[in-house]
Amino acid sequence: MKILIVDDEEELASTLAERLSLRGIDGRYALSGDEALRLATEEHFDVAVLDIKMPKLGGIQLKQRLQELRPGMRFLFLTGHGSDRDFEAGVTEVGEKYYLVKPLDIEQLIAKIRDLLRR
């Protein structure tokens, strides 16, 4: 099981990836949409965890690009819940159960990932 974490906060992305790895999940991270796309072309990921708000390429747009690239890929979204507008737009697009609000709980994240992969 390979997970791609995309967040412009390196501290957050790297720590999350490491914690997943400690639990036996292969977690990789990217700091921008471009980097994520590059990684996705090189490797296969089962699930991508995307921050909604990122400079240049936001989570929602990145999801579409990744889906074109890797049709089988599943997605989870992270949000700082910063702006109601973005949050609501995202929720309607991907559904509330694929949403995680920062700061998040690692066990909940893993549960969601497993849940996503069972479908």
Binding site: L12, D84, V101
Partner: protein
């Protein structure tokens, strides 16, 4: 205790009404007064004018009618009297022509003639024949007047000269008022004689008395000195002098008005030609006008009632309308309050959302780092002296530091504005505002450049209000721009103060809207929840700070706000520009 008059409208006393932007739009008491006075003037002045004109016209008509009636009465009576006298004159002239002087000089013949006259007319008392020397040589009648010489009498002189004489009324021997008529007849030998008769006044009195004079009036004859020739209801029996000034001689009938005591008399008169008589018709004007006065009084009551009703209605309607305007104005003020509050809350909500996002990121990092430490303790055996753990703890500290920076800034920013004026560096204020909106700019790839020119002076203003001004302007610019836009903020010294330019390359504002953007409630972003108060409040805040704000815009190219603030401090140290 002061008690409010129950009928006093709400707007009458406006103590405690707000001043400044929430003051009432009108001076309601003045508005009410103007409305009442104008309406009263417009309604009552034509009414008053018409009432006066009608009063004068109807009075003139009545007076003219009274004069006309009096004139007609005098004309008819004059005709009757003239006829009465000429009848008697003609009778004497007929007798003279029908008889010879010698025949008339015989008492028997004269007696027969007097008898005939008395039977025909009734009021002939006697008959006498007077020769050219003035001697009444033949006389028939109830008195012994035969042989009297009238040569030196006035009537004889007049009759000799003019051929006819009619005397004034006098008592004579019988102590009965009567008059004398004498007619001269020329003889073939060049001499003459005069036939003379006394006439009682019964017939004449009957003629005058029978005429009904309206308005308790009076109709009588006087001589030219004002002595009554016939009895008068008002002034007594014949031969009394009337207490009125004699009217001046006139050929034809005249009607005049004369004051008599407290009353006004309408006097119609005619000088009867070839006689000493003046016919007078005297009426009391007040009696004649009584019916008109009565109808006037009734009309006046009606008019006063109407005026009272009009005044009442005008007062009521004006009060009601002004009160409605007052209530609407109060509603407007309340709405303005409400909208400003809503706008404040919306700003606060936006601010909170930004802050939550800002803080959630470092919190997430703290969370993950702490989580990782826990993982390392639980999942790995060799944690002691592990440099990784120290790095993790450092990282946690850094995130905590980042959080506290945000909260410090937040406290600095959100401190309620109390109108506390302090020396401010405009660049600092702009940086503080961008501290909150910077993240949005980053996410939307909006390039924001801030340039504070060297020598830009400090300003004295309230920090919170200045932040609100720039927050509104920057937020507005962000709203107008597509992602990837450019916002330029420049501050530079100008004469007397400093100018700040906030320019975006957004959608721009159409010229028609540009004139109205500072008006309260004017908004073009209804669908995005704009209250239309942001720029209006900004405008108010800039003015409050003693500054002014201008705007220019071009659709499709962008909008530029220029703010001018007066200088209150010497130029600050040159500050580096940042892009």
């Amino acid at each position: 205790m002061h008690r409010r008059f129950a009928l006093r409208p709400l707007f009458w006393s406006l103590e405690g009404e707000p001043v400044g932007p929430y003051r009432p739009l009108f001076h309601f008491r003045r508005l009410w007064k103007t409305a009442v006075l104008l309406t009263l003037f417009v309604v009552l002045s034509p009414l008053g004018f018409m009432a006066v004109v009608d009063h004068r016209l109807s009075r003139e008509v009545i007076e003219r009618d009274i004069h006309y009636q009096t004139m007609r009465l005098v004309a008819n009576t004059r005709q009757n009297i003239t006829f009465f006298l000429s009848e008697r004159k003609s009778s004497l002239a007929f007798i003279e022509r029908d008889n010879t002087y010698e025949g008339l000089s015989q008492p028997l013949r004269l007696t027969a003639l007097l008898d005939t006259l008395q039977k025909s007319f009734g009021d002939f008392t006697d008959l006498g024949v007077v020769n050219a020397e003035g001697l009444q040589h033949t006389y028939v009648g109830p008195y012994t007047l035969g042989g009297i010489n009238y040569r030196d009498e006035e009537w004889f002189q007049v009759a000799r000269e003019t051929g006819i004489y009619i005397s004034e009324v006098f008592l004579g021997f019988r102590r009965q008022p009567h008059l004398v008529v004498a007619v001269k007849d020329d003889l073939p030998n060049g001499s003459f004689y005069i036939l003379r008769t006394s006439i009682g006044l019964n017939t004449l009195n009957r003629i005058l008395g029978e005429l009904e004079v309206s308005g308790q009036g009076d109709l009588f004859l006087v001589n030219r000195e004002g002595v009554l020739q016939t009895p008068s209801r008002m002034f007594g029996p014949a031969l009394e002098k009337i207490p009125l000034r004699m009217p001046p001689y006139a050929d034809w009938i005249q009607v005049i008005e004369e004051a008599y005591g407290s009353e006004t008399l309408v006097i119609g008169y005619a000088y009867i030609p070839d006689t000493p008589f003046v016919l007078l018709a005297v009426k009391n004007k007040a009696n004649l006008m009584a019916s008109w006065q009565k109808s006037r009084r009734e009309w006046s009551f009606f008019l006063a009632g109407s005026v009272f009703a009009i005044v009442l209605v005008i007062l009521g309607v004006s009060t009601h309308l002004v009160n409605q305007i007052y209530l609407a104005d109060r509603q407007r003020t309340a709405m303005l309050h409400h909208m400003e509050y809503a706008n404040k809350m919306a700003s606060l909500g936006r601010l909170s959302a930004g802050i939550a996002h800002e803080i959630n990121n470092p919190l997430a990092i703290i969370n993950e780092k702490a989580g990782l430490i826990r993982d390392l303790f639980l999942l790995k055996k060799d944690y002691a002296e592990d440099p990784k753990l120290l790095a993790l703890v450092d990282s946690i500290h850094k995130s905590v530091e980042r959080c506290s920076r945000i909260t410090r800034r937040l406290l600095h920013f959100a401190r309620p504005s109390e109108g506390r004026v302090e020396e401010l560096q405009i660049g600092e204020v702009i940086e503080e505002v961008l501290g909150f909106l910077g993240k949005e700019a980053e996410h939307r790839s909006i390039r924001v450049s801030v340039a504070v020119a060297p020598g830009t002076p400090m300003i004295r203003a309230d920090r919170g209000r200045m932040q609100e001004i720039f927050l509104n302007l920057v937020d507005n610019a962000f709203g107008a721009m597509e992602d990837g836009g450019r916002l330029e903020i420049e501050a530079r010294p100008v004469e007397g103060g400093l100018q700040v330019r906030v320019a975006d390359n957004g959608c721009g504002i159409p010229a028609a809207d540009l004139q109205r953007i500072f008006e309260p409630f004017f908004t073009t972003k209804d669908e995005r929840g704009g209250t239309g108060l942001g720029l209006s409040i900004t405008y108010g805040l800039v003015e409050e700070a003693g500054g002014r704000i201008e705007v220019s815009s071009e659709v499709g190219k962008g909008t530029e706000f220029r703010l001018f603030f007066p200088m209150t401090a010497p130029p600050a140290r040159p500050k580096e520009s940042r892009t």
